[in-house]
């Protein structure tokens, strides 16, 4: 496992910046948001995987540009807030902005093409996202949102597993150099 991670790390100069077909980022983000909201009414299982979060992680890591990452995270997060009926606008926005920024920063330093790297990266950013979300809710909303729980652990593992498949599918949107 250590060797797998080591093979994933490359120097910053050698990291490749991926580009996507025009409109594909916006389209994917929009579809995942709609899908997330659509699946939400079919039960709690649909909330296990935060599809917009996975999209933010993927594009931020792929673009490897912090500005693009944070703006994408902010846009998707606020859109997600807008689609939820009781979340104040900015709650998910703050969390996904930070995820987008740090994911792009991390993506600029390590190779995230390997499925295991993507699994670990998604797992970690899932919990980072949750910590930021819980912190914001505790400070601003006075709500005792947990930073970590068994449910969250399971969700993070499922999301990480889904991300491996999803990221591979999204790789097809890349433009070849």
């Amino acid at each position: 496992m250590a060797s797998m991670l080591n093979t994933g790390f490359q120097s910053e100069q050698n990291v490749e910046v991926h580009k996507f077909y025009s409109g594909s980022v916006v389209l994917v983000a929009f579809v995942t948001l709609i899908l997330q909201a659509f699946l939400h009414k079919y039960g709690r299982w649909a909330d296990v995987v935060d599809l917009p979060l996975l999209v933010v992680i993927y594009f931020s890591v792929s673009r490897r540009n912090p500005v693009t990452g944070l703006l994408l995270g902010a846009a998707i997060g606020m859109f997600q807030d807008g689609l939820s009926h009781d979340n104040p606008i900015g709650l998910y926005g703050i969390a996904k902005t930070l995820v987008g920024y740090f994911a792009s920063t991390v993506g600029a330093r390590i190779d995230t093409e390997h499925p295991f790297a993507r699994f670990v990266l998604t797992f970690l950013f899932f919990h980072f996202h949750q910590v930021v979300l819980a912190f914001t809710e505790r400070v601003l909303l006075n709500q005792p949102t947990p930073f970590f729980s068994l449910h969250l652990l399971i969700d993070s593992l499922i999301s990480a597993a889904v991300s491996v498949v999803l990221f591979a599918a999204l790789d097809r949107l890349r433009r070849s150099n």
């Binding site: 926005g93 703050i94 902005t97």
Partner: protein
């Protein structure tokens, strides 16, 4: 600063976006009492500065008014003192006018109560310079058809008589003058006598025999026998009485305040005045009679009226006698 922002453009943008969203959240979130969080934060952020500013300016204002403002306090104090002096002077003027109005009101009431008698209101304008002479000068004279021996009274009681008439003024001899005599009698016993001046504040009622029972506080009125004062005017009350030889020595407290005369009435005729109605009073400044113990034992009344003829201005109290 700008260079640092340019170098860390992405970090600055991140901070800006996060801050914007935090503010957006704060705008939406409502805390207790339905107060938006952003308003709560704004108040919390500005309150210390506002409190400090308020404290500073209030203390600065207190310093200004408490210390710097003292520079004007002295001038203001002087101005207020002057104002107080003017107000006190004005107050005294008003009090004097009010007292004068009251006196005139009493005179008017007295005049209204006796429409049958012709009388002139007059003001005392001067007193005698001679301590032994109990006379005053009034502002009515020959032009007002004032004649000698006209009676001068106040609503409280008799004052004296006209002794000299000038074109515009007249001299009044007070009943306390040593040359003055008034035909008088006790209001209750109707015993006649003569009230003679002694140049003292309290004249003497003479020709009352020692057998006559006289007590302090007895009222003395004019008898009309002197042909100057109409019958029934108040002369005064008995201050003290004691046996004498051959008559009692009775001191009389004049009803009129002779020591503070200001407005008087000159009776043009000697027509008897109608008695005052019950409850009617013309007293300006009543002087309560002193509780003097009568010292004279009751003696028999005597014919003392004849002795009154010794007084230069009083005819002997004989019925129908002529005035001087």
């Amino acid at each position: 600063m700008i260079d640092a922002i340019s170098r860390h453009r992405s970090l600055a943008l991140l901070a800006g976006v996060i801050l914007a969203q935090v503010l957006l959240l704060a705008y939406q979130i409502r805390r207790a009492h339905d107060v938006r969080l952003i308003r709560y934060w704004s108040v919390q952020a500005s309150a210390p500065a506002a409190r400090s500013g308020t404290w500073f300016f209030s203390h600065l204002g207190g310093f200004w008014s408490g210390y710097v403002g003292l520079r004007n306090a002295h001038a203001e104090n002087e101005q207020l003192r002057e104002q107080v002096g003017q107000l006190e002077l004005r107050n005294r003027e008003l009090e004097s006018q009010a007292a004068e109005a009251h006196r005139l009101e009493v005179l008017f009431d007295f005049r209204s109560a006796h429409p049958e008698a012709q009388m002139l209101a007059a003001q005392v304008i001067e007193a005698s310079a001679d301590p032994a002479s109990e006379t005053v000068l009034i502002n009515r004279g020959d032009h007002d058809r004032v004649k000698r021996n006209m009676a001068v009274i106040t609503p409280d009681g008799i004052v004296g008589k006209i002794v000299e008439v000038f074109p515009d003024d007249s001299q009044v001899m007070l009943m306390t003058d040593k040359n003055m005599g008034v035909g008088a009698m006790f209001a209750d016993t109707r015993t006649h006598g003569v009230v003679k001046g002694t140049s003292d504040p309290q004249p003497l009622m003479d020709y009352i025999v020692n057998d006559e029972k006289v007590s302090a506080g007895q009222t003395i009125i004019t008898s009309g026998e002197d042909r100057i004062f109409p019958k029934g005017l108040l002369v005064g009350v008995v201050a003290s009485a004691k046996d004498g030889n051959p008559f009692q020595k009775i001191l009389v407290r004049p009803a009129a305040r002779l020591d503070r005369l200001e407005d008087v009435i000159v009776l043009v005729t000697q027509q008897e005045l109608a008695p005052a109605r019950p409850g009617q009073s013309f007293t300006v400044s009543p002087a309560p009679p002193a509780p003097v113990q009568a010292t004279a034992p009751p003696l028999n009344t005597g014919a003392a009226a004849a002795a009154a003829s010794s007084q230069p201005s009083v005819k002997a109290p004989q019925p129908g006698g002529a005035a001087k």
